[in-house]
């Protein structure tokens, strides 16, 4: 236990924790997207609602959900902690510091993109998760359709997805670097898989509000 505590308390241990939670959250995104794509089905939201109902009622899923929240919290708290200790590691700032010549925009913006994703998460949970899980909303698909007919929310979600994409652009490969898997041999493969997370998945999520906004609304109305 002592050894484990020393491990997790070290700077590298904290980064490893960051990586593992980050990768877990990435896998959650895959599941989340797969479920959400049911919204594109032209059945008036029936499949999606069934899926939402299953997710809300199944005790195993509900337990996993607690785990998910715990991991999100660890990711946030641990990240904040690392951010503060990294700030302390440089007691005096440079008068001239051309970090942009040596690093990517995404890597410099991790703390900012993380904060924005957090804001998004709060809105997102308040908008959908609270009604579905706490208030007992049965017809989640209608709520989604209604939300994404509003220009404000569509733009808000698109912006959030761009920010998430930036966060994952650096974060995904960074996690594998921290876990030591980004070697000369596998570095290319990791960058390739990373495309799935920072490009394909955000686009997948973006299709839903866009589709609903431009086509989905009328289609759903016709079905009703």
């Amino acid at each position: 236990m002592n050894a484990f505590f020393a491990f997790i308390n070290s700077s590298v241990g904290k980064k490893i924790l960051m990586s593992l939670t980050g990768i877990f959250l990435c896998t959650f995104l895959v599941e989340h997207l797969a479920g959400n794509l049911l919204l594109l089905k032209k059945d008036g939201g029936e499949a999606f609602d069934a899926y939402a109902h299953f997710m809300g009622g199944n005790p195993i899923v509900r337990t996993l959900e607690i785990g998910l929240f715990a991991i999100i919290l660890i990711h946030i708290i641990n990240g904040t902690f690392i951010w503060f200790s990294n700030r302390r590691a440089r007691d005096k700032r440079y008068a001239s510091y051309k970090l942009e010549e040596n690093t990517t925009f995404q890597s410099r913006m991790m703390a900012v993109s993380a904060s924005l994703v957090f804001v998004f998460l709060v809105v997102h949970l308040a908008k959908f998760w609270v009604p579905a899980r706490i208030l007992g909303e049965q017809n989640l698909s209608s709520l989604v359709y209604a939300t994404f007919r509003q220009t404000f929310f569509v733009v808000f979600y698109l912006v959030a997805l761009v920010v998430l994409s930036y966060h994952l652009r650096h974060g995904f490969q960074s996690a594998f670097q921290t876990l030591g898997w980004k070697t000369k041999r596998y570095g290319g493969l990791i960058e390739f898989i990373a495309v799935l997370f920072w490009l394909v998945i955000p686009i997948g999520f973006a299709i839903i509000p866009l589709y609903i906004y431009f086509y989905g609304g009328s289609a759903v109305a016709m079905m009703r």
Binding site: A89, S96, T103, Q177, G187
Partner: protein, 245 residues
Amino acid sequence: MKIHLKVWRQKDQNDGGRFVDYTASNVSPDMSFLEMLDIVNIDLVKKGETPIAFDHDCREGICGSCGMMINGRAHGPGRGIATCQLHMRSFQDGDSVVIEPWRAAAFPVLKDLMIDRTSFDRIMQAGGYTSAKTGGIPDGNAILIPKPVADEAFDAAACIGCGACVAACPNSSAMLFVSAKVSQLALLPQGQAERTTRVQRMIAQMDEEKFGACSNTYACEAECPKQISVTHIARLNREFIAAQF
């Protein structure tokens, strides 16, 4: 050439420090950056002022003594060079140059551009060695090391301990420095006996010295005078994880 300098002057560790403007005239493009500073210093001494203190020694880019932040870049513009290898032909007549010491809590400023890098030695002391005793050693060829392994170990061993990785890193992290030694000895058969304790002790010491955590921005690799690859950091992480089991 004429160069306008803005140099960090700090009397000692307790002094707050400030920027002072100087002008270096009659600078030739073939001069190294340190030779340019030498000229400024001779003028200062003649005027009865204390010259700008900076660490330097071999002036061939191998001892790792020199190092300063030049216009926001560790060791100045250019890749794969130490400050002593930077030449004035990299600047234009009339340029303004801001010169600051490396900034890190683990590298306190001693005077002007001189910093205390003994934290690096303390990290090395925590395991950056093999326990080879003097004498009683098997023949050099008794240990076979395939060329690709020897080459990769060499790439890591090329570290000159200048601290540019720390200076360039937004987190003042020393991971590239530590990884260079851990990686070198993890690759070589001679380093196997202490493989586990080495990585654990060196990282513990690195944390104790208040270096930041690596956030994989790779600014270190970009500014390393020996262009040591961040794949060594990946190996360090792997070693650290493996050490838990």
